[in-house]
């Protein structure tokens, strides 16, 4: 029978946001995460971009549905309309720009207010490779993260350092919350859906060849 697989196999689907000021490298982080490449001809994002990837988190296959928002102020009302029902978010600033760091409180308020109270957020200090131009110290940012109950990593979309980890840590935290019962995937607007992998007791050979399985670092 000449047929191709019709439905993707995963256990959960998480809706993710990438937010933060313009020029902090949000689209590059997403590109690095999905394509494993640095995007050097990046333009300002218009509106909202979309990307997805299946990762393996502690033996569970999780499909991340990632909405990469424009940082420019003029798109703010459009991008805010995408916040509802997000399960996780990468809040991005540029370590070489204090201005982008100072804006974090606003972004955070927006996300908690519009997405959901339970949204899991990881703070990403991007452009780690430009240490010489640093305007925000690691210590300062990690204190901010602690105060606001955020996870925190410094990342580099250029070298790829900590990019995968950022998405992975965020997804793992959500998964933990589901397992502990803190999050209910069945609730409307949780940003989480079940895939149908859960009922495939016997994995087809295809499964083990999935690229995400090899890339998984945990």
């Amino acid at each position: 029978m000449a047929q191709t697989a019709m439905s993707e196999t995963y256990d959960f689907l998480f809706k993710f946001l990438v937010i933060g000021n313009a020029g902090t490298g949000k689209s590059c982080l997403l590109h690095q995460f999905i394509e494993k490449k640095f995007k050097d001809d990046s333009n300002h994002t218009i509106g909202v971009e979309f990307g997805s990837k299946i990762i393996n988190v502690g033996g569970k296959y999780v499909k991340l549905q990632i909405w990469d928002t424009a940082g420019q102020e003029r798109f703010r009302s459009v991008t805010r309309s995408y916040y509802r029902g997000a399960a996780g978010a990468l809040l991005v600033y540029d370590i070489t720009s204090r201005e982008t760091y100072n804006a974090l409180t606003n972004w955070l308020t927006d996300a908690r207010m519009l997405a959901s109270q339970n949204i899991v957020i990881i703070l990403c200090g991007n452009k780690k490779d430009l240490d010489a131009d640093r305007e925000v110290t690691f210590l300062e940012a990690s204190r901010f993260a602690q105060e606001n109950e955020l996870m925190f990593l410094e990342t580099s979309a250029l070298t790829g350092e900590n990019v995968e980890e950022a998405f992975m840590q965020c997804a793992r935290k959500i998964l933990n919350k589901i397992e502990s019962g803190e999050l209910d995937p069945e609730r409307m607007g949780s940003g989480i859906q079940y895939g149908d992998a859960a009922l495939r007791q016997l994995r087809s050979p295809r499964r083990t060849q999935a690229p995400s399985a090899q890339e998984c670092g945990c």
């Binding site: 909405w67 805010r80 509802r84 016997l202």
Partner: protein, 909 residues
């Protein structure tokens, strides 16, 4: 003596039995003697013949090399079978395909033969060349009883054929419930995969065997995909097996979500998916709500993806619209509960059913924000460009004051560049920034317009599926009004958007009017496509179009009373069916099909204008028709007008041309466009000239003493008809003469034939909705209904006169006709229209062309040539003023330029 006696004896026996009593010596001949007897189970004869012979009972014969035992088993000749076995026939003998007698007995369900073969220790486990065993055959045909007997002798009930298929696989595929149960009871492996990884459940699902799937699941069958990852659910959905899907979901509730997600898969056929979801939604109210909520969520995600610029516009747009179509379909059908009515959502957000639209609100919210964003950018853009202009002006002023060195540079676009390197320090920067922003804004609009328009289309579909048919949702109208400017900006930049996504316009006349000027400016061809696409959109799927016509749907008409009998039959016929297809047969004739339909339309269009019926009258120039104001002499005239409208509507619906041309004003009536005084010329050219004269001249001091009323002849008596209430006492003055002309035009052209027009339109609109026909103007409508008129060039040449120095033999005239011969049909029509003002040749040909005052032949007059001079014409005397061009090339070039600019556009590409 004894031998002679024996021979006689044999002869007698043979004659008495009408057959030989002795087998031939050689096996080959003997076996063909025996075969028919075995087939008929004539065991006594067979026994008798075999008793004295040396025949080898295992002799294999024929193409497939079978023994007589095969024949007996195959035909169920149980006595012969036993006889052969007793004679030592091998029960396990395999023919050329590897089949034993048991295989054949099993295939044909020969129960007794099977048990006898088993008695004689036939081996049930033998595989034929395809790997099939007897139980495979029994399973294929669902012979459970036989299987029951046989299976006890089977060592491996899961024996595989060459494809790795077991008896259980084939039983499942064919949906033999009891067979499946029997096999499972006998220990068959319920999850056994074949070589492709397909399990019994997979087979049951691939053929939509609902009950079998239920049995398997009940007994704990696992839900496994094949080696390509194709799942049982995929197969169910592909085949549109709603009931089987239902069973799968019953055991694996999470598959529910998977089905909903499957709407995004473009490889799946939409109608199958729709069928499945429709079935599932009708099981219960809660299921219905769950499916719709799920679909709404998927649609929302897809809509958001579509609004991401890096996604593929084509794929996401199709995906979104497909999901929304399915959503609306399922919503409209409703659950099969008795409370199915117009309570759905229409009366606000109170009923739970309208809850299903809730997830979509996110998408509509984003859409709204996007449009607001674009409106803001547009506004900013306008302000900026105003700024730029003012700065430019200032700059220019400064420049002029400062020096005259640069003042020689031409103003206009070039000055933008100059500014950035200009003397001012701060201003150019501001300007450059603003210019960039405005370019950016252009960019945002051009990259999002298509995507947003597709989401708007989806929004419209969702809004209107909550409304009773024919009503536009107030929410949507409000939406269009709110974003009016942005939407107009979209379609101005890319009018194709109208045809691709703004289908709502065709259903909402109130919204259509906002976009009409843009629509009308689109090529005729595009509007035609849109027209037909929408005309046929409400009809069943295209694969249903070619179904055979049922005998009841054939229009049976009498040739000798074609008009009356067609009228009767069409008025009785089912309008929806006629829209789908017409089949006509003439009484007493065999012929059917497109040719007959064509002929029918041809004859009918001649009959409609047949003067005997007094329905239509000819125009003054004899080329066109319009309703006869005196048609009431025919008592049934309004019925017939309705019929004429139906025929024209039907013809248009089925792209059949009719060979009648109507007056310009009648086409306007069909379109609902007001007529004007120039249209009067078609019925009364002299009177039209008089109206023109009143308009062109000051009538104040003429003492015409006209009032807003006219005298008409009603049955020979003159009667005063007011043009408006109290018109008889209102004088026509220089100030109100335009109103007078308009009213008197309407009286002659419209009011006089209003009942006829109304009846005609009533029939016409049964097949062509008024909102759709609006896409065209009166010239295009003529083209759609009657096509491009044929023009006979020889007849034209024969009836042409020459004047002002031209002769038939002049080279210029020769060239002219050569050019006309080479023209396309459209260009000839343009030429005719250019010179005569009419696109048609009257009945009877060019000899009957009318001018302003009676017959007036087509005439070509000479004009002295000056370079670049174009030909001109005087339409009232049908005269072409053709300059004496020095060459054929120049003549052709100038003539075509004149035609394409000067005459009314037949915009056919």
């Amino acid at each position: 003596m004894e031998r002679a006696m024996e021979q006689l004896n044999r002869l007698t026996r043979s004659l008495r039995r009408a057959r030989t009593v002795e087998l031939p010596e050689d096996n080959e001949t003997a076996v063909y003697t025996l075969m028919p007897m075995v087939m008929a189970d004539q065991h006594r004869s067979v026994s008798e013949l075999l008793s004295n012979s040396k025949f080898d009972v295992n002799y294999a014969f024929g193409r497939v090399k079978r023994s007589l035992l095969h024949i007996a088993a195959n035909c169920g000749s149980v006595e012969c079978l036993v006889l052969l076995l007793k004679k030592g026939a091998n029960p396990n003998y395999q023919d050329i395909s590897g089949c034993t007698p048991l295989h054949l007995a099993a295939r044909n369900g020969q129960k007794k033969c099977m048990s006898k073969l088993l008695e004689y220790s036939a081996d049930v486990n033998i595989c034929n060349n395809e790997g099939l065993t007897a139980i495979h055959w029994l399973a294929v045909n669902g012979r459970t009883e036989l299987l029951h007997d046989l299976v006890q002798h089977v060592t491996d009930v899961d024996v595989e054929d060459a494809m790795g298929q077991t008896a259980l696989h084939v039983a499942c595929q064919n949906g033999h419930k009891t067979t499946v149960q029997c096999l499972l009871d006998s220990g068959a492996d319920i999850n056994r995969p074949n070589v492709a990884g397909a399990t019994p459940l997979y087979f049951a699902c691939s053929h939509g065997q609902r009950d079998t799937a239920q049995i398997l699941l009940l007994r704990g069958a696992k839900y496994l995909p094949d080696k390509n990852g194709v799942t049982p659910l995929d197969l169910c959905v592909q085949g549109g097996y709603g009931q089987t899907c239902e069973v799968l979901i019953q055991y694996h509730p999470r598959l529910f979500q998977t089905i909903v997600q499957m709407t995004q898969n473009e490889d799946l056929r939409e109608n199958m998916l729709r069928q499945v979801l429709q079935h599932l939604s009708q099981q219960s109210e809660s299921q219905y709500l769950k499916i719709l909520t799920g679909l709404a969520e998927v649609a929302t995600t897809n809509g958001h993806k579509l609004l991401s610029l890096s996604s593929s516009y084509e794929a996401q747009m199709k995906s979104l619209l497909r999901i929304v179509r399915i959503f609306c379909h399922v919503f409209r059908i409703g659950p099969s509960s008795p409370s199915n009515g117009m309570d759905m959502g229409y009366n606000g957000n109170k009923t739970p059913r309208s809850q299903v639209f809730k997830p979509l609100e996110l998408l509509w919210h984003s859409l709204d924000e996007w449009l607001v964003l674009i409106a803001t950018e547009l506004m900013k853009n306008k302000e900026d460009s105003a700024d730029i202009t003012s700065i430019l002006l200032k700059q220019k002023g400064q420049d002029q004051e400062a020096s005259c060195i640069s003042a020689f540079e031409p103003p206009g676009p070039g000055s933008y560049e100059r500014l950035s390197t200009g003397p001012g320090e701060s201003k150019p920067d501001v300007l450059a920034g603003k210019q960039e922003a405005s370019a950016d804004c252009q960019d945002v609009i051009s990259v999002t317009a298509n995507r947003l328009s597709a989401v708007i289309q989806a929004f419209y579909m969702c809004c209107s599926c909550q409304m009773p048919p024919g009503m536009t949702s107030p929410r949507f109208i409000e939406f269009v009004c709110k974003h009016d400017e942005v939407l107009k900006c979209f379609v101005n930049r890319n009018p194709k958007i109208i045809f691709d996504h703004f289908h709502f316009l065709l259903e909402c006349p109130e919204l259509m009017s906002r976009f009409m000027h843009i629509i009308k400016a689109q090529p005729f061809k595009d509007r035609c496509e849109w027209f037909y696409e929408h005309l046929h959109s409400g009809q069943p799927d295209s694969d249903m179009v070619h179904r055979p016509v049922s005998e009841n749907d054939i229009l049976l008409v009498h040739r000798d009373s074609i008009f009356r009998s067609s009228c009767e039959i069409v008025s009785k016929a089912n309008c929806a069916k006629l829209k789908q297809g017409i089949a006509v047969r003439f009484h007493g004739e065999e012929g059917m099909g497109q040719g007959v339909v064509r002929e029918w339309f041809d004859i009918l269009s001649n009959e409609i204008v047949n003067p005997d019926y007094a329905l239509f009258t000819q125009s003054a120039d004899g080329t066109t028709f319009q309703p006869n104001s005196n048609s009431y002499v025919n008592p049934d005239h309004l019925n017939y007008f309705r019929f004429a409208g139906q025929i024209l509507g039907l013809a248009l619906n089925h792209r059949q041309l009719v060979n009648i041309y109507f007056t310009r004003s009648f086409y306007k009536h069909i379109l609902g466009i007001p007529v004007n005084y120039q249209d009067v010329a078609s019925i009364d050219p002299e009177y039209a000239k008089n109206l023109q004269w009143i308009l062109d001249n000051d009538i104040s001091d003429l003492g015409l003493e006209l009032t807003f009323s006219v005298e008409t002849d009603v049955f020979g008596a003159m009667e005063e008809v007011p043009l408006k209430p109290g018109g008889g006492s209102i004088l026509v003055t220089q100030n109100n003469k335009a109103e007078y002309v308009q009213l008197v035009t309407e009286l002659r052209m419209t009011r006089a034939i209003q009942p006829q027009i109304n009846a005609f339109l009533q029939g016409f609109h049964m097949f062509i909705p008024p909102s759709l026909i609006q896409l065209f103007d009166e010239y295009e409508l003529e083209l759609l209904l009657s096509g491009m008129p044929e023009i006979d060039v020889n007849d034209w040449i024969k009836n042409t006169e020459y004047t002002s120095g031209y002769e038939r033999e002049d080279p210029v005239i020769q060239w002219f006709w050569e050019v006309v011969e080479d023209m396309t049909q459209e260009e000839r029509v343009l030429l005719l229209q250019f010179v005569t003002g009419s696109s048609r040749v009257p009945h009877g040909g060019f000899a009957n062309i009318m001018g302003g005052s009676g017959l007036q032949n087509f005439t070509i007059a000479a004009v002295p040539y000056t370079p670049n001079l174009l030909p001109t014409s005087s339409t009232c005397i049908n005269m072409l003023k053709l300059p004496e061009y020095p060459s054929k090339e120049i003549l052709k070039d100038r003539l075509l330029v004149a035609l394409h600019c000067g005459s009314y556009g037949y915009t056919m590409a």
